[in-house]
Each structure stands twice: as C-alpha cells, then as structure tokens.
C-alpha cells in the first residue's frame, strides 16, 4: 500500500471519534506521579500547537477522504496543513480501527504534490539536494566527503568480504559525526567484522515523509542495489532504520534482501544472547525518550505484520500486541543492564511516547512548532527528576538541544530558573554512552 487511493478503504474506517488526539486513550486509569501526568493526555504535537481540527490526525483523515472523493482540491494551503505533522504515529497507536494514520498522511502529502502543488520551500531544497547525484544528501555536502568522518579507520571503507555493513546515514556522516564515531567504535569493540560503504546515499526518509516520492524511489533503488549482497545492515539513525525496515519493502514491493537492526537493538541481541555484559557503572538519573521511528513505528509494524498473516484477528491480536510491546522493551533492557543507571521513566512512553518535534519534515519547515514540541517533552523529562535525557536518534538529540538552548536563553533574559522546564537537562545519545561503557 503506497498510494492514497490504495489506502481509501483504510481511511474510510475513520469515524472521527478523535481518540487519536490522546496518549493513553485506552488507559483512563493509568497512574502517573503527578496530577499533570496522569490518565489520558493530549498527545498530538501539531494539534496541540495549532489547535484547529485539521492539524490533528482526526481532521487529516477527513481532509484525505474529501480529497479522495474529489470534494477538496489540492492546494498550497492544503499541503501546508498536511505537512505540519511530525508523523510521529502517536495517533496510530490509539486507533481501535487500526488505521495506518502515518501512511495516510504521507500518501496525502504525496498525492497533493503529484497533483501539481509545489512542495514546501525547505522540503524542496532537501529533495533537490538528494536528487543531485553529486550530493545525494539533504545537507548540501559533497558526496565524496560522506566517509570523511572516518579519518582514523580508513580500512573500514568498502572492506571486501564482509557481510555486515554499517549504514551511517546523512546526519551522522555530515552533521553529528560523533554518533558515527561511537557506533563504529562500539562495533569494533564488539569484534564485529563490518564495513562502511562509500556508495551509500540518503535513505530518502525526509523526501518520503514530505511526499516527494519520485526522488525517494531513486535513492531507495540505489541503496537496495548497493547493499544487496550484505547479510546485515546496522543503523545508528532511527529514521534511516525505519525507512529501510518499514518503507523499502512496501515501496519496492519486495522483501529486503538483507536483515536490518538498529545498533541499540544489536547490542540488545548480544546482551540477550549472553555474549556481552556491561561492567562499567553509570551512576546517573536517566530518563529515556523513545525515538518515534525506531521504537513506535517499528513496534506498530511488527504488530501489523503479524495481523497481516492472521485469519483470526480476534485470537491473534493479543499476540501481535505483545510482540509490539516486546519491541518497546528493548532499549529499556539495554539501559537496565548498565550498572548504576537509575532509569526514571517519563509518563508518556513507548507507543504513547510524546514526539520530540523534529520528524516528518517539521524541523526544517515549521521550526517554531518543533521548538514548542521539544519544550513540552523537556518539561515532561524534567518532571522525572532525571539529570540526563537519553535517546538514540540524531534528530531527537538536535531538537532537544535546541529546546534546552532556548530555555537557557529565556533564563538569561528573565532571570527565572527554568530547571523544572528542562533547562538543566543534558541530552545523551545512548550509543555514545554504550561506546563509553563497553
């Protein structure tokens, strides 16, 4: 299912109940630590920020239906509303009708653009850069510099006769090289025979999310060709991982020719198999932010993959949900294997996690919304009493750090202590910590 037309029947399941606007819409009695974080809570970043029904998934489903029925024409205004969504999938967790809300939103964006509406300014820039064969990344960096971060271990580049590749992704390759460094270092420490492929190109995630599918298909096909002979691809970027794992099979119509695993999951696998043990302590209070792409989206995909094979959902839905929940536990198992680490969970977690605000093309195009969303999540993180906000996604890391910077500026300007809003939190990428401890 890739086009909006193919999703017509799924979209038609929406009865506009608006349960999707709430985190924990099915858990009214969920206990929280504070009055603010208890029971059901609003959970849609765009809806909270803009207020109008059309920014919530519930409204978007009905705009999509009107578009499908020829009642609502494609327009720039329509695209702007459709694009103002982080595609975090919180809504998808809530839907008792199993509507693939993120698929509908992404397909709606694509359909509007394919009707002749120009993509939004920032999204167009991404697309053009990724489409440029001399770049193949959204950051306007030279393609030949993609592996420049790997100054020390050049032998890892295009290493022959290895079956495991680390897909670095554009952000770690060009902007947050420390994440690439830490990931490569972890793999070396674990004694993994792996390579970094110089021909890798952007996974296409930002292009796909923002509805620019033609260019996405080009880079997807290039990557599939480049990596086809590997057995396993490892990822440090939640977005790249989700794109390969969930979107490539759907858009190519073929199962992946290799296995995929996020580096945190890979560490989990080794812990689970008893092949490694973390001995060094990390004596800090930590709260964990679930990246939407690698946690919620993959969890939901696991659930729906099981249901797709089932001829009795009544019996199998519970097992499918359990498999999803088991996926949500993976990062927690890794964190709890670290001696001394005091995990203080936020209220909205796992499938009901509140987004950092950066995804779906929002960070670039709707920076105010991204910042506001980041601050809401930082406040929730601060409410746990943790000192460290840990996650494993370069976009979450960036957006949280931007939120903290903004809070610090506010503190400087007003003299008001905003530590209860998260101004004193330190954002740590879990892979960085694992590199330190392994």
């Amino acid at each position: 299912m890739t086009s909006l037309e193919e999703l017509r029947k799924i979209n038609a399941r929406c009865i506009h109940c608006r349960a999707c606007q709430y985190a924990y819409s099915g858990e009214p009695d969920r206990e929280g630590e504070t009055e603010e974080y208890t029971g059901m809570l609003q959970g849609c970043p765009a809806g909270i920020y803009f207020g109008w029904e059309g920014y919530f998934n519930s409204g978007k489903q009905w705009m999509a239906r009107a578009f499908l029925n020829g009642e609502l024409p494609a327009s720039q205004e329509f695209l702007e509303i459709a694009e103002a969504c982080t595609t975090c999938g919180m809504c998808e967790t809530q839907c008792p009708n199993y509507i693939d809300t993120v698929h509908v939103t992404e397909a709606l964006r694509a359909a509007i653009i394919e009707s002749g509406v120009e993509p939004l300014d920032k999204h167009k820039i991404f697309r053009d850069r990724v489409n440029d064969k001399t770049l193949r990344n959204p950051y306007n960096e030279a393609r030949e510099e993609r592996t420049k971060w790997l100054s020390e271990y050049q032998e890892l580049i295009d290493k022959p006769d290895t079956k495991i590749a680390y897909y670095v992704g554009c952000t770690a390759a060009y902007r947050q090289q420390q994440i690439a460094d830490h990931t490569a270092s972890i793999l070396r420490k674990l004694g993994i025979d792996f390579t970094i492929v110089s021909d890798e190109v952007c996974c296409g995630s930002p292009i796909l999310r923002t509805g620019q599918r033609e260019v996405f298909r080009n880079v997807m096909n290039e990557n599939l060709e480049t990596f086809k002979d590997y057995d396993l691809l490892l990822f440090s970027c939640a977005g790249c991982y989700k794109t390969f794992r969930n979107d490539y099979p759907e858009h190519s119509g073929q199962p992946l020719p290799f296995k995929v695993r996020h580096a945190v999951e890979f560490v989990y696998d080794l812990l689970d198999e008893g092949k490694i043990k973390i001995e060094k302590p990390y004596n800090k209070k930590v709260t964990w932010h679930d990246p939407c792409h690698s946690v919620r989206h993959v969890g939901i995909a696991i659930e729906k993959e099981i249901l797709a094979k089932s001829d009795n959902w009544l019996l199998d839905s519970r097992a499918a949900e359990k498999a999803k929940e088991a996926h949500y536990e993976l990062p927690r198992i890794v964190l709890n294997s670290i001696p001394g680490l005091d995990l203080k969970e936020m209220y909205r977690i796992k499938g009901d996690s509140f987004c950092c605000g950066a995804g779906g093309g929002v960070k670039a195009q709707f920076s105010d919304m991204a910042l506001s969303t980041s601050k809401e999540r930082l406040k929730e993180a601060a409410s746990t009493g943790a000192d460290i906000l840990m996650t494993s996604c370069p976009f979450c890391v960036t957006n949280f750090n931007d939120g903290i910077k903004s809070l610090k500026k506010e503190e400087e300007a007003t003299g008001v202590d905003l530590s209860d809003q998260g101004s004193k939190l330190v954002v740590v990428e879990l892979l960085e910590l694992l590199d330190e401890l392994l």
Binding site: R8, C17, A19, G26, D29, W52, E77, N312
Partner: protein
Amino acid sequence: MVEYNKVNDELVKKLVAICGEKYVTTSEPLRHSYMARGIMGMEAELPEVIVRPENAEQVSKILIAANDNLSPVTPAAGGLSGGFALPAIQPGGIYMDMTRMDKMTVDTENRVMVVEPGVKSGDAWRIFKTKYPDWAPPIPDGAPPAATVLGDAIERGFSLVTGVYGPQADMIMGLEVVLPTGEIFHTGSWALPGAKPFYRWGVGPNPDGLFLGSQGSMGIITKCAIKMIPHPHYKTVVAYGGDTWDDIVRPAWEISKHEMGIAENTVMVQGGNYELVMTRWPEKNVPTDYDFYKKIGIDRKWMNYEVWAWSQEELDFALNGIDKIYKDYEVREKRTLPQQTLHPKQIASRLKKPNKIAVPYSLWQAGFLFITWYCPWLESSAMMEEYCAAMSDHGFPETMWVASIDHARQAIVMPILCFDSTEPGIMDRIREFNLETTRSFLKKGWINYRPDPFVHAPETFSQAKEYYKMLVKFRKVLDPNLILHPGRLAIPWDSVSDLPDPSKE
C-alpha cells in the same frame, strides 16, 4: 422555504472582530477537517466558516451577527460517541467549534459540577481521578475520551449510572443558554444572580426540556450544571447468557425492579449478541460461524450487569441477589441462562471509563452507524427481533446492543450498522433500511433517540403533528430567523422532507 444567505466577507470580518483572527477560518481544508459521516449520523454539509469562541459573550455576538446576515449556525464541541454535530442543509453557514470553552468547576459539598462545552471526558476523568477520587464525573459510558461531558448531557446520552439514574440529561441542575437572538440566561436556581445551581426547577417553570435533545437548534448551551455521584470502589461486572432476546431482557427486568434494593447497585445493565463481538474485527479476518464464539465462551445473547458497592459485603449481596433471580427465573421459565466466566481482563475492560469500546466497528468493512431507539423495556425483545431480521434482509450483519435506562423502565435498542462506506450506493441502502424500520417502529409506538433530519424526524413528526406544531411555535419565538442548526428536528420542514408539512395541516 427559508432562504439563508451565504457567509460573506463582511460577516467574516465581524467574526474576526468578535473572536480574533486566530480563531476564525474560512480555509477550505480546515473546514473539511470537521466533517464526519458515520457513527451518529450520515448527513453533513460543509460549513463556510469555522469560529472558535472563548465565552458566552462571544457566542452571543456571533449569533447577533449571524442573524444580521441570515446565516445558519451549527454549534458543536464533540459530544456523544464520536463525530460532530454538522450542518445538515446548505449553505453550511457558521460552524461554532466550542472546544476552547473548556472550564470545569467542581462543588463536592453540593455535589454538582459545572462544565463548559469543551470539557472532554478524558480530561474530566483525569481531573477527578487525581483531585476527587471519591466522585465519578458525569461522563458518557462507552464513549471515547474526546466525547464532551456537556454534549453528552444535553443530547440525553448515557452516563456511568444510567441504569439507575436515567439519561445524563436527568442529572442536569441548570443551564446557561445563549438564545439564537443573543440573550444569555440561566435556568433553575441559577436564574437568581449569585445563586448556586442547587435546584433544577428554580424560580419558575423550567424550560430545560426545550434545549435538551434539540441538537443545538433552540439555543446554545454554554454552561451546564450536572449532579455528581459518588464513586464507590468495589466494582465488578457479571454476565449471563441466553439463546433468545427474552432470555436476557426478562431477567434484567426482574433485577432492575428491585429499586431501593440491589437494583441501586446495578448501575449499568447492557447486553447484545455474539455479532457485537464478531463485527469488531475485519470480516475477512475473523470466523463468522457461531460455533467459534460458542467455543470461546460467548453466548448467542448476553446481558452484562455492572455493580458498584461501598464494601465487598455489599457487592457480594448484590451479586448473590442477581444470581438468585436468574436461578429462580431458569426454574420458573424452564430456560438455561448460564453465568459467563469472565476473565479479570474482560471485567477490567468493561469497567474502564472512558473507553473505546464503541469505536472498532469500522474494522468489519469500512464504516458504521449507530441507530438508536427507545421503547418500554419489555418490548425491546420484539424490537431487536425485527431489527435483526431487517438487517439480515438488507445485507447487514445483525450487530445489536441494548441497555436499560432507569431501572429498566425504558430500553435503548441500538443496531450497529456495519458497512463499507466506499461502496457505491451504500447511503441509499442505509436510507432504505432506516425508512423501513422507522415506519414500522413508529406504528408500534417506539421512538427514535436522536432523530436524523431526513428520515427519523420527518417520519416521526408526520405522526406527531400536534407536537410538531408546538415545537415550531416555540422555535419561532426563540429563533425567529431559524438560524440555529437548521434542518435538525425537521425545522424548516421543506429543507429536509417532501412529505406534507404537519405545521400547515
């Protein structure tokens, strides 16, 4: 024929002056985002402008501006089980999204809470859970978290304790109403400035009934004072099965008659058939033969009893009382009505409020509609028999739900019409089904709960002519230009029906 004017630039400017630019939009996509066709009604027209007022004064000014331009106004916040109250006829006019008005005050001493239209069940439950755990907020049972407290109450929807106290509207102690012409007034004791909403009948004849169930067509209710009930924490659900509708309806009547006895603990009595379970799943991904449901312990028909008590002893007393009535009934009527073995998770799921229990019927195909009827409790078996036969004839699964209101004085009978909303001609098929059952039921003296403008209301008022004439008279006094939610309650008549206008006979 009433001629309404389209919303023009001048009117939009007035709305912006009243509410601020941020809260008025004519955006075509955003207007479409409020649409809903399903669950509580299939009829919906696109509004021309959306406005989000902050208080009753702004509501009043909007109505004055709408009257000046002769533009229709549809107020809505969320209410009921889902979907919105939408314009029924063209032009769609002004859609008043009341969700910004979301204040709530709680008076535990006088056991009344006051809500504005935007207070959602999920939020009310959360606030009560943390601040007032010994009280139950008057939220609808079986509605999702975004359903509003006020919307449910003024449309006479279910409460958590409808089996005992009747519909939510019976719990109302006072209203703040903005009349279609812009005047703001209070009902009950609230009419006296400074008085609390402690006495529903207030300072004179109470006009609440004109507004409750009017689907927003008599005035806009901007505040509602509702009784709060205690929230005892010894709770459970028991269920008994049977093969026929009478097997579940008659014992429930015997239990519910025990007023001032075990019936007071039995706050909700509701049941259904196995199709109610089956159609929550995709038609192609669930067994459709009853044998499967039998194997997993689901009877053909069953009735649930939700029991609240102040102690385990009191809870056991009520449960034993229910069981004894069933046992006696089985012997006397020579029936087998087994108590179902409920898994603790099933009990917890049923006790959960608010919940999403009513939502997944779209999975069967792609869309569903609740059609709700009231009848005297003991007549509900006959209604369900007829409904199921009609559903089968029209090619719909026989999904049926029934619940007691006020100690089984009345029944709400609700077929859930599961269909594929993308199927060409489906709306005509639903309309045919609705017309056929409506005509038959009206002859039997049964009434529709929330009449839709194109089938139920015209068919009903064609029978209840004198009532309709009075309704139109009241309406014209309150709303001389008929701007509020036109089409609802079949006013103006010729906008929704080709039948002879009863008010002219």
